[in-house]
Amino acid sequence: MLRLHELTMRFGALNAVDGVSLSVGEGERRALIGPNGAGKSTLFAMIAGALRPSGGTIEFDGQDVTGLPEHRRARRGIARTFQHSSLFAGLSCAENVALAVRARRGLGMRAWLGSGRNMDIKREVTGYLDLMELSEERPAGALSHGEARRLEVAMALAQQPRLLLLDEPAAGMSSAESARFAELIQNLDTTLLIVEHDLDVVFAVASHVTVLASGKVIADGSPAEIKASAEVERVYLGTAKEIWC
């Protein structure tokens, strides 16, 4: 469903993403791991449409979307979370999620909605907030870090995307929350691309792992294959391997 071909992003002399080709099938749950600065977030930004690639193409659902603006991609069903929580700080948690719900339902530019529809939206919003254990009224700007991370995820889920890009969703979540979270996304039936340094989450969720280093794919395979790779151990896992594997 997603196909990257020779995708490249240059920042000045730096090739942050360097000719990445990758394809993700429908319903697949793919993890993207790699050292800091490997280019994972940059890759996400390009897939979502926030960054224009310096080279290469992005195909979604068999169509080339490389030149498509970000909001059009979102409407086709690509949603993402941000590594640095990117919320509507002055608005309540409920309104944060409601913006996502209305966008999905194509109601964002309506001048006015009847109270029936409004109730409907409200009910849906409450559902997502409960799922992530958030209260409705508090402004997003007053959340603790971990709570903000959860709202981040709630909004992406509310988009009900066909392709969900999660950039370190569990970072900042406490262990209890991230365990629950892993369980939650295991049961989602969307196609998933997840960047995460918390390997508990990665190996609980992923059906397939791609390893990026210095902008290039250095390994690609099943979780078991990745755990076994000496190269991955050397550049990324270190002795952490012993703890998790």
């Binding site: 050292p35 600065g37 640095h84 007053a142 709570e147 370190e168 262990s175 929350e177 390997l199 391997k241």
Partner: protein, 228 residues
């Protein structure tokens, strides 16, 4: 060395810390654990003066810190690695480190040794760094102050496992620096800290040495909600 007694604080009308208390011997590291939103960040921010204490006392050596402003607290030898990194976005790595360094054993070179990827990005501005690189910069910035007391608020967030490991080694090897380490990464917390505190609803409800904590899965289950 650090004695916190009956510390309360919060935001506006909302109280977050309820009579939090802790003692930290010189040169020791204590890990502060707890679920999201219990008040860990508020606790370290209050120590740093970024959130004003409502009541209670914070003694560092012979000095009372409660009521001082952030700069004065910093001058008493306290540094923080804040949650969410908060690097200076318009300064390059090099500039950030330059304006943060004071006399002491931590030098810019040592920071670069600890985090080689920072050295490779020395000309990048703060907002041109990856998340993990920003975290490294924030840690380097704090270390360069050569603090007596170092407050780390989830420093492992966003760092690759290999780097977390290095960080753990580095923190363990710091001589004479007292450390308060807020962490979600239990492996790191346990590797670095001498003692463990768990926070629930703004107070510390559990205190143990790291060795005791390792042998006490019930505590982890009760206060942190982790199953294993």
């Amino acid at each position: 060395m650090l004695t916190v007694e009956a510390l309360t604080s919060g935001y506006g009308q909302g109280q977050v810390l309820h009579e939090a208390a802790m003692e930290l011997p010189p040169g020791k590291a204590v890990a502060v654990l707890g679920r999201n939103g219990v008040g860990k960040t508020t606790f370290v921010h209050t120590l740093m003066g970024l959130v004003k204490p409502w009541s209670g006392s914070i003694r560092l050596g012979d000095d009372e810190l409660a009521g001082l402003d952030t700069r004065q607290i910093a001058r008493h030898g306290v540094r923080i690695v804040p949650q969410g990194r908060r690097v200076y976005r318009s300064l390059t790595v090099e500039e950030t480190l330059a304006i943060s360094s004071g006399p002491g054993e931590w030098t810019i070179e040592r920071v670069y040794e600890l985090f080689p990827s920072l050295a490779a990005r020395r000309g990048h501005r703060g907002d041109q760094l990856s998340g993990g690189e920003q975290e490294m910069l924030a840690i380097g910035r704090a270390l360069l102050g050569n603090p007596r007391l170092l407050l780390l608020d989830e420093p492992s967030e966003g760092l690759a496992p290999l780097v977390v490991e290095e960080l753990g080694r580095a923190l363990s090897s710091l001589e004479g620096m007292s450390i308060i380490l807020v962490e979600q990464n239990l492996h790191l917390a346990v590797a670095v800290a001498d003692e463990v505190r768990c926070m629930v609803k703004g107070s510390f409800v559990y205190q143990a040495t790291t060795a005791e904590f390792r042998r006490d899965p019930a505590a982890a289950k009760e206060y942190l909600g982790v199953g294993s």
